[in-house]
Amino acid sequence: MKHCLVVEDHAHTRQWWLAELPGIFPGCVARAVSTVAGARRLLRQERFSLAIVDIKLPDGSGVDLIGEICRRHPDTMCVVNSIFDDDQHVFAALRAGAQGYLTKDEPRDSQAEQLRRIVHGQPPLSPGIARRILRHFARQGESRGAGPVADGSAHDLTEREVDVLRLIAKGYSRPEVAELLGLSVNTVATYTKSIYRKLDISRRAEAVVEAVRLGLIRSD
């Protein structure tokens, strides 16, 4: 992580990230802006390996910004940082391409720890998000004509991944899930990562379908 971008309008938080990031990722250079416009300007000038983006920004939505970054700078990893942990916004950000999320009221050291985990491919998964992911894949299976799928069993997720999502949706912690399924905590983390990846794949697949529809890509 050489270059980090922080898009955050809350001054204290911005300062904290600037101060903290070099500690989390040794040798990293952090830049911070408080608006979407500022972020766009910086993105045109520099390449970033990590972007930490707040959802509510004074001049726009962080979700839109994340979508933009993922399209134009696929190498930049996006992480949501929001004070409001509502699934709706967080899930929208994940669908836009974010690879993890942090809630601002978590203790700072735990936020730093979580960021480290996200970057290392162990994204967080809350019950509400797990529920939304299950629903998303179930709907996708349905729209592809697989028939009504009540529990998300007939979609792109593997049976194990569905098990993990279901338990997390019920409020179990990752170690608890590992114990219940007879897996190691690491394996569960791997499943979470693959679930995120499939979410990304499904997003890209949709993007391709959309592009074909718009005539941007030839379908043959």
Binding site: H12, T13, W16, I83, E106, R108, P127, G128, G171
Partner: protein, 747 residues
């Protein structure tokens, strides 16, 4: 052959409607004509002015009364016993009880009938002579000059009763026919009324005779009476052949008609005696065919309560009553030689059908006739009734003069109107408008305040209150407006949000649903739908407002709390700030959204994560004791999510403060539709941990917990000792009925 079994009221759909009032007046004219003809006929026969009765012992007949202004006044007195009647020149005909038999129908064979008619003829000839010679049993010979006619007022009561029967039958028949349009069943009802009028008119002349009529006249009257009876039987059997369902083929009906024609001609020409009893045998055949028709209807209407109700009505009002009347008259005459009922009684029973028909039309929605037709009928009856009563009173009580009308009005006021009111209430038990006025405000209040259940159940309660159906079923949405189904057996009403309801039979199954009910359902559904739309608009406004507040809170309060959480050196204060932020979130997400329901499963999952994270921060284990599978199907209102979440948080805070524990147990249990939530610490660890600052905060917190539990209609028990702290909350829940719950999922 499904098409042949379509609903009868639908099949006989009204095609056209002519001006009913004119036609009804036409029927009245017909009735008046029949009355005039029979009245003229009855009063233009030779008259002695005596009333006779069977003498108990010995031969002859007894004089019961003598009309004071009649020709026999002063010559014959009440109590005289007469043994014969003759002319000055001719031989006297001896009088016996057999001559007083009113109805020739009681004679079983043509031979006995002819003997009776012959005696009647001779008696009539004696009465028609210029001077009638009456022989008394004590040997006196009395000479009376019979008058060529009699006053209307001397006609017996039976004569008038028959007129009333006939008029009622014709008017009801006409009413049904005119209001129900050109439909075969209604036409048959009308035809039966006409036939009945023929019967009653001839019967009235038969019973009105003082002593005898010439044989030819009497034979013609009997023939006319039988013609009316046979036609009446034929059309009503034809009705039951077609209504409510079609049973059997036309051939059987034609066979029956052929038989009736044959029987009538056989009577007329006296070809051959029928087995047993001439008229009794014919009547038996009619009864048999009627029973077959009703049995066919019974079979054909399986599975359709609406049509079955009509069959039950016909069975009761037509078949059973007629069978009783016929058995009591003809079969009694057949077996014992004497009817159990006088003719006027048995025909009256048969005529009851027309009175019952009015009720049938109104209550069983027969022929699809609207109930306002009953208004017309009653209105007409009132007018004609007052007129008739006026004439009757002035005839019966001639000296009353100008007070006649007063007496009539008194009678109308005290008899007719209460009777009419009573009838009306019997026909339409509950006044719907009064019901609506009672139920609607409560329903609207419930919709607006959200108290006493969700709008959908309030709607259902309202429908149940208004129509009092036998049963109400939740069905899929089939239309956006209420509809009558199965010919009024069921009423479909759309739900307020989704689906619909089917109400089966109104007034606890006592009546079918009318188009009036449909109109009522449409009106209240319209009102309710508008109200819901209005509330929805209001709610959208609230949502917008909430979003605005949320933005403000996010930008302002949220940021400050965040600073406090991260910058504050004191751990306790940071924790409080974090709690405040959580509370802020809940308030923003849930407040004002009183209608949304969150799945309990989802809420519990969130609580679990929240509590776990919180305890992780302070190094305390969480024992989470819930059975997630039990939670399915329950939902919490926003208020409940908020209050229970706060109680849980407060209880955990208190448990943490009370005696720094190693483990905190949070257990949830559902018994029926009641949620038990338990928070307890394990009671080990540092004792006396509660420092001074916490006592006050704890007391306030406890009060808040209690208030929040009470708001949900629940209760809260706290047990605290030096070591242990335990809170148990009991709160009633509501089932979500499988509704989607994605509105408020978070985290």
């Amino acid at each position: 052959m499904r098409t042949a079994r379509t609903n009868a009221p639908e099949r006989w759909r009204r095609r056209e409607r002519r001006s009913p009032l004119h036609a009804l007046v036409g029927a009245l004219v017909l009735v008046a004509a029949a009355l005039s003809v029979t009245g003229w006929q009855a009063t233009h026969v030779p008259w002695l002015g005596i009333e006779l009765a069977t003498q108990a012992e010995g031969g002859g007949v007894a004089v019961v009364s003598v009309w004071a202004d009649g020709p026999a006044a002063g010559i014959v007195v009440a109590g005289d016993v007469l043994s014969g009647i003759g002319t000055v020149s001719g031989e006297a005909v001896s009088l016996g009880p057999a001559d007083l038999v009113v109805d020739p129908d009681v004679h079983p064979t043509f031979a006995s009938l002819n003997a009776f008619l012959q005696r009647q003829d001779r008696l009539a000839a004696a009465l028609a002579a210029p001077v009638t010679v009456i022989t008394a049993a004590d040997g006196r010979t009395l000479k009376v000059q019979a008058r060529p006619g009699r006053p209307l007022s001397t006609l017996p009561a039976d004569f008038w009763l028959f007129q009333i029967y006939g008029a009622t039958a014709l008017l009801v028949g006409a009413w049904v026919w005119l209001t129900a349009g050109q439909r075969l069943p209604a036409l048959l009802i009308f035809a039966s009324g006409l036939a009945f009028l023929v019967s009653t008119a001839s019967a009235s002349l038969i019973v009105a005779r003082e002593l005898a009529l010439p044989a030819a006249t009497l034979r013609n009257l009997v023939s006319a009476f039988h013609l009316g009876n046979n036609l009446f039987s034929l059309v009503l059997i034809a009705l039951m052949w077609h209504y409510p369902r079609r049973v059997g083929g036309r051939l059987l009906l034609w066979l029956f008609a052929g038989w009736l024609a044959f029987a009538w001609l056989n009577e007329r020409h006296q070809w051959h005696d029928l087995p047993g009893h001439n008229v009794g045998f014919q009547v038996s055949i009619v009864m048999l065919v009627g029973i077959v028709a009703v049995a066919g209807q019974w079979r054909a209407t399986r599975g359709s309560a609406a049509d079955r109700a009509v069959v039950k009505f016909l069975l009761l009002a037509l078949v059973l009553v007629n069978i009783i009347a016929l058995l009591a008259y003809y079969h009694a005459a057949w077996l014992s030689g004497r009817p159990l009922l006088p003719l006027v009684g048995s025909l009256g029973l048969a005529g009851l059908f027309y009175l019952a028909l009015v009720i049938g039309v109104v209550r069983y929605r027969m022929f699809d006739v609207e109930r306002w037709w009953l208004h017309i009928w009653l209105w007409l009856a009132a007018g004609v009734g007052i007129l008739g009563l006026d004439i009757l009173v002035s005839v019966l009580v001639p000296g009353l003069g100008q007070y006649t009308l007063v007496l009539v009005l008194v009678l109308v006021g005290w008899v007719y109107f209460p009777l009419r009111q009573w009838l009306w209430e019997k026909a339409f038990p509950a006044s719907e408008s009064a019901q609506v006025l009672q139920s609607l405000p409560a329903f609207m209040l419930q919709l607006v305040t959200g108290r006493g259940g969700d709008p959908e159940s309030a709607w259902r309660t309202l429908l149940d209150d208004l129509f009092q159906p036998l049963e109400t079923a939740r069905v899929a949405r089939m239309a956006e407006v209420p509809r009558l189904l199965s010919g009024g057996e069921r009423l479909y009403v759309p739900g307020l949000e989704s689906g619909g309801y089917e109400l089966r039979l109104a007034n606890h199954g006592a009546r079918l649903l009318h188009s009036r009910d449909l109109a009522l359902a449409r009106t209240i559904h319209d009102i309710a739908a508008r109200l819901v739309a209005e509330l929805e608009a209001h709610r959208r406004g609230v949502t917008r407002e909430r979003e605005r507040i949320m933005r403000d809170l996010h930008d302002d309060v949220g940021g400050r709390l965040l600073t406090l959480i991260h910058e504050c050196r004191q751990r306790r204060a940071a924790e409080t700030a974090r709690e405040a932020l959580e509370a802020l979130r809940d308030v923003i997400y849930l407040n004002g959204d009183g209608e949304a329901r969150v799945a309990l499963e989802e809420v519990v999952a969130r609580w679990r994560r929240q509590t776990r994270k919180r305890l992780e921060r302070v190094g305390v284990r969480l024992a989470w004791d819930w059975d997630p599978d039990m939670l399915a199907g329950f939902g919490l209102s926003a208020r409940a999510v908020l209050n229970l979440g706060r109680i849980l948080q407060e209880a955990v805070s208190n448990a943490l403060r009370h005696a720094r524990p190693g483990e905190i147990r949070v257990a949830g249990r559902l018994s029926g539709e009641v949620l038990h939530l338990l928070v307890a610490n394990d009671g080990v660890g540092r004792t006396g941990a509660a420092d001074d600052g916490d006592a006050g905060a704890g007391g306030q917190g406890m009060e808040n917990m209690r208030r929040r539990a009470a708001e949900l209609g629940g209760s809260l028990v706290v047990e605290a000792s030096a070591q242990t702290y335990r809170v148990e909350v009991v709160v009633p829940l509501a089932r979500t009925e499988g509704r989607a719950d994605e509105t408020l999922s978070r985290r």
